[in-house]
Symmetry: C2
Subunit: 403 residues, 2 copies
């Protein structure tokens, strides 16, 4: 067990640490190996920490992942006599106003539990539009080409309750009470204009832990190879408005719900798991390396046999060209299993890119064809959303489309 300063010691040291800054509590992750420097996961402990709301892009995408996420898909259900486009504008204006306040630790207008807004805990609210919505609001000609559902894949076992949606609301925070309050405010304020289609709750390691890449519930270190720098975001994530100038600064979310078949996964031994993934379970190092961020050597062989099997997950998932890269921001889920099953868990695999057809789809096609992991994972949900460009102080989300 780790040695631990007593409460008295801690208090004294904390006082010294934060002398003159009484409202602040903040500390961070242990500095182990290269985790802080290399990983996109940074750790904040302060429940008063805020993420910016206004800007060229929405927050919640390149933001270091918070501990908790809620993804809600809604369908527009405008009142009789009100057009869907008016209803959409009303929803987006309400969400913009509420999110601009809540993310900064301020109560929403007419917030009935304003004190629950006092711990923003890096809250972000991110909003997107489903591809089919553009036709519904008679703006099909303004749909970005990239905002299209990917094709079906042979390994998909899609369940309608996890697919599609007119609108996406993504709420992320390091504190679960903040998340619950935010979702209540944002959803109740639009309840006369929308119906909830699905709702997915996810989590990563709690903020304030030792940092480093997250493990998923299959035990693998998840997200080692990812885009982490501004140039990469500009190149791979943010849409440049090419075919639809109003969409410059947006991105396309492809959200997949991937069930882990834990019972069969737990029947195979560690060596088999490592061959299926292509990485060590303990360190996350590629089978040809010794630490997580070592470059895999896909050409390495041992007595003529590839050290990293060509059908291992990392070999198949690896981008074949730089153009295929996209940002992943996954969350674990662990829900109540149906009767007779021990576990209902897996990954809410959130991917962000300028064009899924050029980025997500070719990679997923290879994975569907060859990934050794397919025996233990099943994609049961899929939904695509055009994540709106960011908003200035005096605008509202979607204004460049609807305004």
């Amino acid at each position: 067990m780790a040695e631990r300063p007593s409460r008295g010691q801690l208090r004294l040291n904390r006082r010294r640490l934060f002398a003159g800054s009484a409202a602040v509590v903040a500390a961070g992750a242990t500095l182990t190996q290269c985790s802080i420097a290399r990983s996109s996961v940074t750790q904040e402990l302060s429940d008063s920490a805020v993420e910016p709301f206004h800007g060229r892009h929405q927050a919640g995408i390149t933001t270091a992942p918070q501990a908790h996420a809620l993804f809600v898909a809604l369908d527009l259900a405008p009142a009789p006599g009100r057009g869907p486009r008016d209803a959409l504008a009303a929803v987006l204006k309400l969400w913009t106003s509420d999110a601009a306040r809540l993310t900064q630790g301020r109560a929403a207008l007419a917030d009935t539990e304003p004190e629950l807004a006092q711990r923003p805990a890096r809250l972000t609210v991110t909003v997107g539009l489903g591809p089919r919505l553009f036709d519904r609001i008679a703006l099909g000609h303004r749909r970005p080409r990239a905002a299209a559902e990917p094709p079906g894949f042979a390994t998909d076992r899609l369940e309608p309750q996890w697919c599609g949606g007119d609108l996406l609301l993504q709420i992320c925070a390091d504190d679960p009470i903040t998340l619950a309050h935010t979702s209540r405010v944002l959803l109740k304020n639009v309840r006369t204009m929308t119906t909830v289609r699905w709702r997915q709750t996810g989590f990563r390691n709690a903020a304030g832990g030792r940092g480093g890449s997250m493990r998923n519930l299959m035990g693998q270190i998840d997200g080692t190879v990812n885009i982490t720098d501004a140039a990469g975001f500009d190149r791979h994530v943010w849409h440049d408005g090419e075919d639809q100038p109003w969409f410059a600064g947006g991105t396309i979310l492809v959200l997949r719900r991937i069930r882990a078949e834990m019972d069969t996964w737990d029947e195979i031994d560690r060596a088999s798991k490592e061959l299926a993934v292509g990485r060590r379970l303990d360190t996350g190092a590629p089978l040809t390396g010794s630490s997580e961020f070592d470059e895999p050597d896909f050409a390495a062989t041992d007595r003529g046999i590839p050290v990293i099997p060509p059908n291992s997950h990392i070999a198949v998932a690896r981008h074949r060209s730089d153009d295929e890269r996209f940002l992943r921001r996954p969350y674990n889920y662990d829900d109540a299993p149906p009767t007779g099953r021990t576990t209902d868990s897996g990954l809410i695999f959130a991917t962000y890119q300028r064009d899924p057809a050029a980025q997500f789809t070719p990679v997923q096609r290879r994975l569907a064809e060859a990934d050794a992991l397919n025996e233990w994972i099943t994609t049961i949900g899929s939904a695509t959303f055009a994540i709106l460009p960011g908003v200035d102080d005096d605008g509202y989300l979607g204004e460049s489309l609807l305004g």
Copy 2:
């Protein structure tokens, strides 16, 4: 927004703070008012922090509440040819062995995801037996008198899916991944001998925040008056084995699922809410005081009218004698609502006491008769469990009953 030290400053300060103790990351809550000194909620940030497993009492009861909790009720379903008492002993031995390791940050035996055990994050595992189980295992004569379901109350609207159970597994941790892994290990290892009856997931503020009492999702500060000292635990919580010597060191959990009727709650104004509760929403102070921990003055009047209404929640809930006190350790829940409802949230109201008939029941009877809050809260689940005494290094949970 609060001033925040830069990452570089933090790193330096942290290094100084923990010099000589490289494995430790720990910091704590802002020292506001009297929250740390007076509240039972303490805050730990370290995901390597451990709670003791062995001892006279099980952990997870007087332990400062962790951020996340899972309560699972199971029924014994022994294989043909195996008696329920044997099955129970097998389950309790497995859980003891697994919990003794997992709570200390070590993988369970044959843990298929051992790396997920590396962040104990103050994990506790707490085990109890339902009152009806004693007859099932032909040990009805060894049931503690106190291990009995409370009577029904007029305001109960109990739904069978949230009631009863042969066995309780309570898992609490500050990290949701730790909790998910622990529940998987503990539940899969007993799947041939049990069926899951219900499962309730709850949360409080994330560990590492500013500390202080939790707010529930109705916006109230929750848990101000509670038992926080060892003498109080001995007097009100721990059973002394009076009628059943084997049960000395145990306690009785009465777990209520209390739905918050958020839509109607949000229709009333703040003054009405404060009168219903008897406390200020902002500070949690009683209506006769100015800060959370001020003693309410139930005799105070303003122009002949009581300042704290006699039917307010705190006036009715207040213990009439010291004998009525019990320990509360509540968690919020916020689940996917059924179609047409905006929210399915409320409180998993976990109470621990030596004898519910003398402690929980008289208070709850008064609340059912008179609590002004009843209009906005509905008890939809109830379950009672004899929380087993603690265990030594070489024993197993329940050995004093079964051994």
